[in-house]
Amino acid sequence: MKELLFVFFAVITVVSAGIVSFSRNLIYSVFSLMATFIGVAALYVFLAADFIALAQIMVYVGGILVLLIFGVMLTQKISTVTITHLSVNRVWIVFLGLLLLGGLGYTIFNTSWFTGEMRAAEPTVKAIGNLLMGKYLLAFEVASVLLLGALIGAATIARKEEQ
Amino acid sequence: MKNYFINVWNAFYTALVGLKVTFLHLFIKSVTVKYPLERDKVPANSRMKLEVDWADCIGCKACERACPVQCIHIDTSKALPEDNLAATKNGTARKLLVSNFTIDLSECLYCALCVYPCPEDCINMTPNYEFGKYDRKLLIEQFAPFSDDDRAKRQAFEEELKKKKLAEKAVKTKEKE
């Protein structure tokens, strides 16, 4: 049963990711990105990472994707101009892609994966909270400050009036 | 800073005032009526639908002339021998027979300008406000109580009269010559 659901979500993720990269219509790419994100979130659930799954939906679908859509909608003539990813440097891309595939495949097949027992899903929030506020506090704060800086910078750039 | 808080408080407070106003309407009786079940009382002098009392019409066409949009059409003819024309309620003798009296209610302005010139008070605005029809043609109201056959007969009679007159005229002119 679980396997069937897993396959279902995996297919959704892969197919929609395929649409994202191969669709000639930019807006279709962006919208199918939503399916990708949701599929990934579902896969997180299978990994018993429910907090991450929900955060994925909230942050990526509710926030970042919306921003992407916003940006794409504001570009000109999205529906008529076909933006292709295929025509530029095709040879190089195929070459690099194959190289990457080979490398990844090699790694996957040659790593001795750690296999543990299947454990029941546990509440993760508390653990995440404790780690963020304890062990990784500095990293957490540094990341926040970095993001804040980026935010302020973006606002400053956007707010700049014409001289 | 102080302004900001005053503003926020103001927005909140005035919102509460507005909510109170609307809330108090819970206890106020509805001012509308449940239309087809209840009806508002319409004053007797309401100007809703034009009605004509054909029996009183003398065919003077004063209303036709007064109408700003020419929605009234009156045809008159000489009375047939079998027509027994009674006098109007004002006692005026009717000499002409109104064979055709139509009002196109889809064109009517409901201005009541036709009502005042009528010497016999036979055209009136009535408070009947429900005369919707499914076809615009049905809004052309015919007030003369004749069938089409009847009207044709009258027309024939009229033409006959006219012919007779013409013939008489021709005879007269011939005699003159």
């Binding site: 000109q76 | 503003n7 609307t22 201005c111 300008l113």
Partner: protein, 382 residues
Amino acid sequence: MSRIRTEEMIINMGPHHPSTHGVLHLVLHTDGEVVTKIEPKIGYLHRTFEKHAENLQYNQVVPYTDRTDYIASMNNNWTYAMAVEKLAGVEVPEYVEYLRVIFGELNRLASHLLFFGAFGLDSGAFTPMLFGFREREKILDLFEMTCGARLLYNYIWIGGLSHDIPPGFIEKTYDFLNDFYLRKDGKDALTEFRKLLTANRIFIERNADVGILTKEDAINLGVTGPALRATGFPWDLRKTEPYSIYDRFDWEVAVGRGEYGSIGDNMDRYLVRMKEMEESAKLIKQALDQLPSVKKLDVRSAVPNRIRPPKGKEIYFRAENPRGELGFYIRSDGSPKPARLKMRSPAFCNLSALPAMAEGWMLADLVMILGSLDIVLGEIDR
């Protein structure tokens, strides 16, 4: 750092749009939400009123004037009647004048009540609409019991009125005025309006400092009526060029004071109308109070049978309508029909100020500014 290049979007507002108050068509050039250029397109409701009038006798034109500004038909009737009376030299009895003032002001009240409702609706509040209608309905009931019609009255005739007031009219009008603004317990309609909409912070934020029209601009663009008075210019024909018997009453001209923002903004136009409602109610009350002292007579006694003004005589007469100055230019050729009739409709002239007021504001503001002009398309297109 240069600004991000943006592109104008042309967007058609109307002719079928919920808040153009009729079949007005605005071609908007927008930059995001900001409207940069407005081109009003009118004429969807053109009914050749002026040409019609040339083919009708003077008294037959009255029902046509009803249909120009159908929200304030009484005032249209009245202005037209006064113009023809002046042209043909008809004297109107004092009793009739009093009734005309009462009905004209009642209609002004009804018109402003509709404005109140429509303006609320433009700002997104639904309930003021119904409250405005509730009060307006009472006025329409008064009209109906008098002349039989609720919207298109044909009541004020040349030289008189079509009906005398029915028994019970005066008491009912007093009752209405009482419910409208005189009640001591603070439950009158005007106070309710004030609490519900005028005081609301959202409403104030939406309107204060929005769509400012300066006095100079208003005069140059020919804006009249409440929109002109909102710029702080106390120009009300009832006061500055008193016609009829307006000089007998004690009342004030409502002027924009910029209570919530600058002078001449949306809020001022709204407040001027709210104040005018009060003043109209005062006028009606005074006229009703003075009415018993006037000799009662047949209201149709001075109605001329046939109107034939002297040949070549022409006249321009203007009066203060709820929307502004309504003017009639009439030229006679000696026949019972006017040779030329021209109507200066206030809403038409006010609309021409819209681009000056609304350009540079947001789409939502445009709706409010258009609403604050209180246009009636029947009058603009004629």
